[in-house]
Structure formats: structure tokens, C-alpha cells
Assembly symmetry: C2
């Protein structure tokens, strides 16, 4: 019996007898590594974050510096909880880029300017704990399946609407990363191969139509051609403020939001045609609009699906774990 299995067995026995549940709970460390901040949390067996900390990434420094920062943050979280490394089962990191999950290497991250950083080995050396890494959106999708809006589902796609469109795929309850960790860039499916310029270099990706950045671009253009629109009196046009203007009855803003939901639904219908998941979750900034976007998206998506059977339509809803998904998903990798 390995040490870990023995530990788990004791844990089960103790639990059934009602002894020492706090001391013997198994913790995992989850790291949500972003271009701006590093969030570290201690996650228990019930997928609850019992302690957390957030520190700046300082992405301009060399990778060694960022990884040292992750390590320091982990130590502070452990300290905060009165624990040490050996009290934990392992460390998981969600990184903003493509990862070789088997070898624990971040292949490439644009937001960190990383190429081939052996992140897992660097953290293993410091903490002598097993370290797993994966893409951040994949971690978020896994968290939703383990403990969030998609709990118990087998095949789920999470789409996050932020500066860009992120995506994570869970198939048969585990993350699908694709060959060499390249997969699941769903924001870079086409809506129009001759269309809007995308940040990836080609034209017409879904990202260039349905990210929150794209929504702001669409609103600015419309405001320029409609001087009477309330959008022109806003101190700043943001995704949030376009929705607010629409709510206050601004005709231009309403038209933009309707069109934006159509774009969103075109990509969702692509996902349904290609993967037919049980559930599609929407996360990221724009998802705070809830039913305001879900209702039109469901309608447009159904109209644009190949298989129009009512029962074949996946459930489309908002992701429930917000910022915690990254930490929890990384912890349970």
C-alpha cells in the first residue's frame, strides 16, 4: 500500500468514526496563474477554498522570477493555514497558454511571454510535491464539472467571454487537451473568413465578434455613426456600460446587444454541431448578464444547429464558480 493510499484509508476510517476531520482532511494547492495576478488557494476534499492569496505576476520579469513568486505565494497560503507542504496531496497550476501536460511544460504563453518553461519541475524541486499543469480555461471547465454548474456532466464545453474568448473541453469527465496541449481554442473558429481582423492574425474568428473586446469595438463604431445614442455620453464604453445603456432603452445599444448575441450564438451553434456536448457553460465578464444573453443565445443557437431536435439541444447556462474555478480546477487536476 502506498503512503498516499494508506493516508486515504486512515482518512476514511477516521471520518466514519467522526474523529479529527479537520486534521486529516486532504488539501490540494491550486494556482491560477494569470498575466496580471497569481491567485493561490488551498482546496479541501469538498472543493472549498479554505485559504487564498493573490499577488501580482510581474510578467515582465524572467520566468524564474514568476515561478519564484508562485512558490512564495504557496508558502504564504500554507503558513496562513498552519500547514506545510507535506500536509498537501499536490500542486496544480492553470496557466494562460498551451501546456505539455504530460511533461509539465508551458509550451507557449503570450500573456507571460513564455516559451517551453518547465513549470512543474521547477515547483517540484522547491516543494517535493507532485505538480500538474494545464491550460487555465481547461482548469475552469474541470472545476465546473467537479463542483459547479455542470456537476456530474460527462461532456461539457466552457466558453469564457473576456478580452478574448477562452474555452475548455471536458470529455468523459476529464479535460480534453488535444495533441501536445494545443486544443480547445474555440474562439478561433471562423464566423466569416473575410470578416473582422482577429488578434491571432487571421480574419473572421469568433473571438473578433463575441469577445468583450469585440463588443466594445462594435459599440464604439455604432456610437460614432449614431450621434444621438446615449453611448456617446458615457465616460467610457465598456461591455458593462453597453448593456446598461440598452437596459435604459437606448435603441443603438439594444441593436448592438442583439447583434452581439447573434454572433455569440453562431459560435455556440458551431460547438453544438461539432461536439454536441451535454452542456455549454458561459463564463467571463459578459456572463454576468445572465438571462439577458442566455435567452437570445438559446433561441439563435437552436435556429442555427444542424440537429434541431429539442432533446438534442445542450443545456446552455452561466458558469457558477466565477474566479474560484481557476484555483479549484487546478487543485484537482
Amino acid at each position: 500500500m502506498t503512503e498516499h493510499r494508506a493516508y486515504k484509508t486512515i482518512q476514511k476510517l477516521e471520518r466514519s468514526a467522526g474523529f479529527f476531520p479537520v486534521i486529516l482532511a486532504m488539501y490540494r494547492i491550486g494556482v491560477d496563474l494569470g498575466g496580471t495576478n497569481i491567485a493561490v488557494g488551498l482546496v479541501n476534499d469538498d472543493y472549498v477554498i479554505t485559504a487564498r492569496i493573490s499577488v501580482p505576476t510581474n510578467a515582465l520579469q524572467a520566468a524564474e522570477g514568476v515561478v519564484a513568486g508562485i512558490g512564495d505565494a504557496i508558502e504564504r497560503v500554507l503558513e496562513k493555514s498552519g500547514l506545510t507542504g507535506p500536509d498537501c496531496a499536490g500542486i496544480g497550476v492553470g496557466a494562460p497558454g498551451t501546456c505539455d501536460t504530460e511533461r509539465g511544460i508551458v509550451f507557449r504563453s503570450y500573456s507571460l511571454s513564455w516559451n517551453n518553461v518547465p513549470l512543474a519541475a521547477m515547483l517540484e524541486e522547491r516543494f517535493h510535491l507532485p505538480v500538474r499543469i494545464n491550460n487555465d480555461a481547461n482548469c475552469a471547465a474541470l472545476a465546473e464539472v467537479k463542483a459547479g454548474a455542470a456537476k456530474g456532466c460527462k461532456n461539457v464545453v466552457l466558453v469564457t467571454l473576456g478580452t478574448g474568448i477562452g474555452s475548455g473541453i471536458v470529455i468523459n469527465g476529464t479535460i480534453y487537451s488535444g495533441y501536445l496541449g494545443s486544443g480547445t481554442e474555440m474562439g478561433h473558429m471562423l464566423l466569416d473568413y473575410n470578416g473582422e481582423q482577429c488578434s491571432c492574425g487571421r480574419k473572421g474568428c469568433w473571438d473578433a465578434y463575441a469577445s468583450s473586446t469585440a463588443l466594445v469595438v462594435q459599440a464604439k463604431r455604432a456610437a460614432f455613426s449614431r450621434p444621438e445614442s446615449r453611448l456617446n455620453s458615457l465616460p467610457q464604453i465598456t461591455g458593462q456600460s453597453v448593456f446598461e445603456a440598452a437596459e435604459q432603452g437606448d435603441v443603438t445599444a439594444i441593436a448592438i446587444i442583439n447583434k452581439y448575441c447573434e454572433y455569440l450564438a453562431l459560435g455556440i451553434s458551431n460547438i453544438i454541431n461539432v461536439l454536441a456536448p451535454e452542456m455549454i457553460l458561459i463564463g467571463g465578464g459578459v456572463s454576468s448578464q445572465g438571462e439577458r444573453i442566455l435567452e437570445p443565445v438559446r433561441k439563435y443557437a437552436r435556429e442555427n444547429c444542424f440537429d434541431k431536435r429539442e432533446e438534442a439541444m445542450p443545456i446552455i447556462k452561466i458558469a457558477s464558480m466565477g474566479n474560484e474555478a481557476g484555483i479549484i480546477g487546478a487543485a484537482v487536476l
Copy 2:
């Protein structure tokens, strides 16, 4: 030890001793059910079709008649081989539509005009053998992974270019069917949401640009506006004849083929961005062109991928099992 396991053990012993390999080989029956023909084959443990038959589907009759036709064809194949039902491990059927693989029901097939046909139960009643069903393109993808061009690969997408674009996905070595068998209609991803009318009802699907039907439409349009083109002197414009005219130096045909390969590659790059499979196989009529399409498709696909790392590009090649894939894949479901 179950009867089946005992049988397999005897089989292995006999094989290693060199006795009775023919008599003790395990056969499976594979049915490739098409809108025009029903192809039935007896498949051995080495994924070889040892006997086969093809009969017309007569799709205009009721489903009971088609299923009776499948049953009769199975009996003729068994008879041809001097076998009976109990000599076989099971029956598999690849059907042209969406299937509930767990309950063995063909939900919907446009080419057969079927809705909710309990195909597996109907054949089980007649043959008293386990019957499995799946979508025909999924069966073809499975066959390629088991014994064809993708042998040994884990994550593979097969795209078939025919009247429409079919697709099959294999993930972790098994067919991915999606929720309620709806998945993998990759031909119905968008290239241009305002573009060509697609047979599915919406505009701009890949199918409307890169199926062989679409190639013929593109060639007819071009021939009309270019009276000098050799295409105008053809008795009939087919996918094949456009490639031939291009090979003979017809400028219009060359331009059409180049554009067609671009359309093909746009969809392939979508597949890479969404699923990053190890390998993408191209099958169906147009695939007989081999390197003539592969070379430009690889070039355009790489240019259009999000992850441009050389090592992250999947292998793109032609499916190797042709018409046999449907039977073999169904047999090993």
C-alpha cells in the same frame, strides 16, 4: 470464465499451436447502411473482410422492409461463408444519420427518411446476436484507427468529402458521438455566416464550400463566366473532371481547384483550433486526388491555425480503407 472468454482462450491456444485457425477465428458482421446500397461483410480478428455482399437499399419502402433487406443480406453472407449466426460475436451497423448508440435507435436519417427506428432490437430479434449501431462516418473513423491510416492513434478526425461533408471523431481510441448521438457534424461549422446557402438551411457552412457538390457548383459558375475554359467542352462537370481539366492546364479549372483547397483548409484549420487531433484523415470521392489536395491544404491550414508550432500540426493524410472502412468499423463497434 464466461463462454466468450473461454472461446478467446482456446482461440489463442489453438493459434499458438497452429491448429484450426480458420474454424476458430472470431467473426463479426459489419453492415454499412447507405441511402443507395446496403453493404454487408464478415470481418475476422485481423480486420479483414472475408466475405461481402452489396444489395440495393430501396430506401423508399418502410423501415421494416429495409431492415428485412439488411437481415437477408446478412444471411447470404453467412451462407456464402458456410457459417451461421452463432459462429459470430455480433453485428454492427453504420447508419447514415444520428443514432442513440446506447439504446440502438436511429433517431433520424434524412437519406433513409427514418425517425426513431429501433434498428438494434429489430436485428437482435432475428439473429439473437448482440447488435451495436453508430453513425456511418464514426464507424469509418474507428476502422481507420483500428486498422487503417490512423492505426494506433488516440485522437483522430476523419472528414469525408462527398455529396456532403461527413465527419467522425475518435477520442482516446473510441468513437465520440456526443450527447444523444448528435455530434460530429463538422461539415456544418461556418466559414461565412452570410455566405453560400447550405443544404441544412443556414448559410455559410463548410459543407457548402468544400463538399464535392460544392466543387461542382463552383466549377459550373466559373465555366459560365469563362466561355474559353475547357470546362465548357466537358460532357458533364464532376469533381473528377474539374481536377482533370486543371491537370491539362485549364486556367479556370486550376483557379477553382486552388480556391477549393483553400476552403477545405479553412475547415481543417477550424478542426485543429477546436480539437487539435493527432491526425486528420480525408476520405470520400475527392480524396482520390491525394497529394494534389493534401499539399495546398497542409500549407493553407498551417497559415490559418492559432497554434503555429511545427510540432503541434496534426498529420493530414488520406484515409486508407476506402469503402471497406464502413463495414469494418461497424463490425468492431
